[in-house]
């Protein structure tokens, strides 16, 4: 119930060398397909990679709720030997940068239980809130993001409430730096989830996008490269889907065998951009005809930065 977008800059400057940052490019793409999802908008951005220091973003709400949430977050971090280097409130969220050398999965599961964790990574930062791409940008200054790649999502809330924490993208709970945006419905959700849960993974939501993220993260953890993980996902996941996945260095897509969910891609020497609709891609090149392509059903592909 949504629109998705992803972009990777192969060269500095971005689309047509126009010097548009990747944050602004994603805002433009999502604004182009906002009709697919007016309720909430989200971004997965890959900021400067500072190894050894983890970036965490939490949804904390406002007023007393926010103060209570922060107290819990600090206690949990302290309990796990993570020290806070930097802390920054933004909208209804707080971003923390912490020194932490332990097991990321253990820390993030503990944080998930304590608070509403939105993303974890050496460079991943997920920003999502209710409202349009421009509404979210007004609060979180997504336009200032100058990195090499990122994903975006607009959501039409149908089955769950309009809440910032129910917005997309989703991160792979327990794994750093993996994010997903997905349009569709995974029908063997519970079967796949139980399979992963038996292997010790925890799920924070009942959302099928989170399942895809954890499924792929598990593959990557066990040594599969992203391209092969996507190939296997087409066999393993049942249902209708068009999704985009990103890691610190790559973005990729996979599309189900029934070609039910839309996806259009555009690639040149400067960028690769993928979106639900061409109207988003045209936003990157106003007034210019583009040589776009609809990926065939049952296909996948990845790009390195």
């Amino acid at each position: 119930m949504c629109g998705i977008a992803g972009i990777l800059y192969k060269k500095k400057g971005g689309p047509g060398g126009r010097n548009v940052g990747a944050g602004q490019a994603l805002i433009d793409m999502l604004d182009g397909c906002q009709h697919r999802g007016p309720d909430s908008t989200g971004f997965a951005l890959y900021r400067e990679d500072t190894s050894g220091i983890l970036r965490l973003r939490f949804f904390i709400g406002e007023g007393p709720e926010a103060i209570a949430a922060k107290t819990t977050i600090h206690k949990t971090l302290a309990d796990h030997g993570a020290t806070v280097v930097e802390e920054h409130d933004e909208g209804t969220t707080v971003t923390l940068r912490v020194n932490y050398g332990g097991d990321i999965q253990e820390l993030s599961y503990a944080l998930e239980h304590a608070a509403k964790l939105m993303s974890v990574g050496a460079s991943l930062d997920i920003i999502k809130d209710i409202g349009t791409a421009h509404d979210v940008d007004d609060i979180y200054a997504v336009r200032d993001f100058q990195g090499t790649h990122g994903l975006g999502h607009v959501r039409l809330a149908t089955e769950s409430d309009v809440k910032p924490e129910a917005a997309h993208p989703f991160w792979a709970t327990g794994f750093s730096d993996i994010a997903i945006v997905h349009n569709g419905q995974i029908t063997n959700y519970w079967k796949m989830r139980r399979r992963l849960e038996r292997r010790g993974y925890q799920f924070h939501t009942d959302n099928d996008s989170e399942l895809i993220a954890v499924y792929l993260a598990d593959k990557l953890k066990t040594g599969t490269v992203l391209n092969d993980a996507l190939k296997e996902s087409i066999d393993d996941l049942d249902g209708t889907f068009s999704f985009l996945v990103s890691t610190k260095d790559e973005i990729g897509y996979a599309k189900d065998r029934l070609a039910v969910k839309p996806m259009v891609k555009y690639e040149d020497d400067d960028i690769i951009a993928i979106a639900s609709e061409e109207v988003s891609l045209n936003r990157l090149f106003p007034g210019q005809p583009l040589n776009t392509m609809e990926p065939p059903p049952g296909t996948f592909q990845t790009w390195h930065r």
Binding site: D39, L156, A157, L258, P262, E278, V279, G287, L290, T292
Partner: protein, 654 residues
Amino acid sequence: MAQIDLSDISVTDANIRIRELGEAGENIEVLNPDARHHIGVGLTAPVTVHVKGSAGYFCAGLTDTPNFVVENNVGWGLADNMLQGSVVVKGNAGAIAGVAIRGAEVVIHGNMGSRAGQVMKEGTLLCGGNANFMAGYMMYGGRIIILGDSGAKIGEDMTSGNIYVAGKVDDLGSDAMLIDLPADERDDILAFLDKYELKAPKSFQKIVNAGTKLRYGTAEPQMRPMPFFEFSGKSDYWNTKVQEDIHIKAHTGRYRIRGYGGARSLPHLSDIAFRKDLSGAANEPDPVSKVEMRTEIGGINGANPLKISMPIMVAPMSYGALSRSTKQAIGIASGLSDIAENTGEGGMSDAQRDAASQLIFQCLGGRLGWNIHDMKRADGLEIYISQGAKPGLGGQLMAKKVTPELAKIRGIPHGIDLRSPSRHPDILGADDLVIKIEEFREATGYKLPVSVKLGAGRVRDDIKIAVKDGFDFVELDGMQGSTGAGSAEVLEFVGIPTLAAIVEAEEALAEIGRRQDIQLILMGGLRDGIDAVKALCLGADAAAFGTSAIIAGGCIACMQCHVGQCVTGIATQDPEHEKRYQPLVEAQNIHRFFESVRWQVAALAHAMGHTSVTQFSRDDLVALTPEAAAITGLPYEPEYRNQIPEALKMQKVG
């Protein structure tokens, strides 16, 4: 040549301008289209529209006679339901290019996306490059020419028409087969290529329907119907009814098909009653004059509402399931009672349009009878998602009823067992649905209400999607709703009862605080004004009658609607049988039935102390059974069982 720059004005304003220029016979250039949706929809003039760039979804959709040229790519649903005219796309096309075209020539120089030509009826769809997955899926006629490779599952479940492929054909769809190309058809193709200045390839392969799935195998034996369990005479486990069912399945080897609704006893409106003392209800000689009954439906988002004389409508029923005379009689009756009529699936007839004062035009997945001209003369547009009798399944119309005349209106071959698609080509999620609704609104200038017909299944989720997607009203159909033909198991055992459906819908809307943003029409086994009032008390803005209206017009409830030999001339397309039906007489009977409903609604409202039909509420009701109490949350008070005074009960019609 007039110019319209989409970097200056909205698509909505552009489309109004395009139609004005079309009326004036002026050709048009659209600048900076930037893949925006709905460019040129609703245009019915033979002018040229030159789109100088890429277009989005439904470019040239719902049009008749224009010629479009698109310089670059197009999104989903190119030339959707285009009647006559042409579209040339110089780049690639997204999924379902040429969907449901009825005569148009659609030429794509590049590649085309999945399911191109789905449910197309007539005309030519040409792809200069490669086709993606399932080209020609469920096509009913016309031809698809592919100069490149075919893609997987080509011709999947095509009913008729021809597909020609110059490149590789690796994978045929279900019920499709390859045959040799006749010489005269080759000449036709070459002439077409020449017309659009395209290079002719060396050779073509031809793909047609293989004919293995168009008719059911062994026909179901016709025998004296025993539709109800209760009719079996004995209550033992292997009773006559059960034996009959097994015998028929032993003969045909498949599920059984029949008409009408379920025969099982389910919690229903008869399991709730009115709390107030209504013994004086019949004392007022003219209750209709005492109660405000006029109702407006569909205006909440700014469209022109349906204005009806009471909160009552006719449920959607197709010309196809019913005879033309029956649809005419219902149309006349709805006009006489000044309520809204609905075309159902099979298109709109002039007689029906003329007779009905308010007419809703229904759009189904097969787009059978759907077209821009009838959209423009409708009073409301409706997207059918499913119906209460068989939620999630498409319609069935047995060969006996698919006469040449009926087939022509629907744009399908005659004499097939028609199984209408269960889903729309272009509505595969709530996000696509938003764009589809907007296409209808763009094409008709945002004047008409757009509604959705929902069979009760996942009501809670479906209703939320309906309101989020901006429908003006919902026609919610419970499990007790009837059908012209459906599998017996589905009729009896699939769905959510009408009573539960309205309660779930109200709860879902309350949950998201959006009750004021949509109107609800309840249907599914409503039998009289008393049922209608209960529906209104439970929250419905209006109630709709289908089966009751047919019975008022002479139906004998034999449940053999699917056979096509209806003895009353109602559920038949056989002219000999239809002769028995006297539409002008039956129109009066149906009209009188609606007037009895009007009187009952008014008398009940008056007796409850209401002065308007908008004052009914849940507080007026109690539940008579523990099941109804559990479903509705109403207090369980069985002692109200005999509360309805004799004088208010349904009178025999006539």
